[in-house]
């Protein structure tokens, strides 16, 4: 864990890199931020997740969204439809997570995610 003035600088560097990846693949960035906060900066697991959620409160993807919007690569209707589900699901998920030691669930999710990623990469490369 970096100390003193090094800490904010290392956090900012990590967040910038995560932001670039996030804009590139159209996701919020919490996906990479949580593990990096834990593994690189020594955050405790629940604290890393709560901190990542704080970082997602302001519309941090705004500039990335505008880049897609100008290229007409946005379907606003579908986006609006997803929002209520994500919000209410998030509330329930947060309740479960603060009561749960999520280690096994996290591993299961990691395996599923890896297979999903492999499927996406393979279907793109073999097309």
């Amino acid at each position: 864990m970096p100390k003193g003035w090094l800490r904010p600088i290392s956090i900012l560097t990590v967040a910038c890199l995560v932001g670039i990846c996030g804009g590139l693949v159209g996701v919020g960035g919490g996906t990479l931020l949580v593990p990096l906060l834990v593994l690189l900066l020594g955050f405790e697991q629940h604290r890393a997740q709560g901190t990542s959620l704080i970082a997602l409160v302001p519309p941090t993807g705004l500039l990335a969204f505008l880049a897609y919007y100008h290229a007409h690569e946005v379907n606003i209707k579908v986006g609006l439809l997803v929002i209520p589900g994500v919000f209410s699901g998030g509330l329930v998920g947060g309740m479960i997570a603060t009561r749960l030691s999520a280690k096994e669930m996290r591993k299961t999710f990691a395996v599923l995610l890896f297979m999903l990623g492999a499927w996406q990469a393979a279907s793109a490369l073999l097309r």
Binding site: L12, C21, L63, A64, Y68, G90, G93, K103
Partner: protein
């Protein structure tokens, strides 16, 4: 006008009610993960839109970013906040980094082909999965009951 036509050709929705139901379910599933893992949800929304609705990769990613504009994690954040599991200063710094980094990532993405973008997305998911796995295997620190 040309751009509007292009968008419509790329995204062909199924008959309306089913389509709406799927989208709402995608949102619910993504939301659960948002709360459980402290992540943004776009990671599951993008492949779901591509595979379940047949959306183009670029449009799915742009739509995911649009969905993330309002503070969707607020409900989940409230639960963490009550348990004092939030580092406010670090969160604010991260927000600044996302903001800047996201712009450049977005600029690069719109210039790429959908196929290249899908491959990149796949590798992104795989590396996120590896990081999650390592994180889960890390032994909990002494004195901290949960991790």
């Amino acid at each position: 006008m040309a751009s509007r036509l292009r968008r419509e050709r790329r995204f062909r929705p199924r008959p309306v009610p089913m389509h709406i139901l799927i989208v709402v379910l995608i949102g619910l599933g993504a939301g659960l993960l948002v709360g459980l893992m402290g992540i943004g949800g776009g990671m599951v929304v993008v492949p779901a839109l591509v595979y379940l609705l047949g959306m183009d990769q670029h449009v799915a990613q742009g739509t995911s970013l649009f969905m993330l504009l309002p503070p969707l994690g607020l409900g989940a954040l409230w639960e963490y906040w009550k348990k004092r599991e939030v580092d406010f200063g670090a969160g604010v710094i991260c927000a600044g980094g996302f903001f800047l980094g996201g712009y450049f990532g977005g600029l690069v993405a719109v210039g790429l082909s959908s196929r290249a973008l899908q491959a990149i997305f796949g590798f992104f998911l795989m590396s996120a999965a590896l990081l999650l796995w390592r994180q889960a295997r890390r032994p909990p620190k002494p004195g901290i009951p949960h991790a």
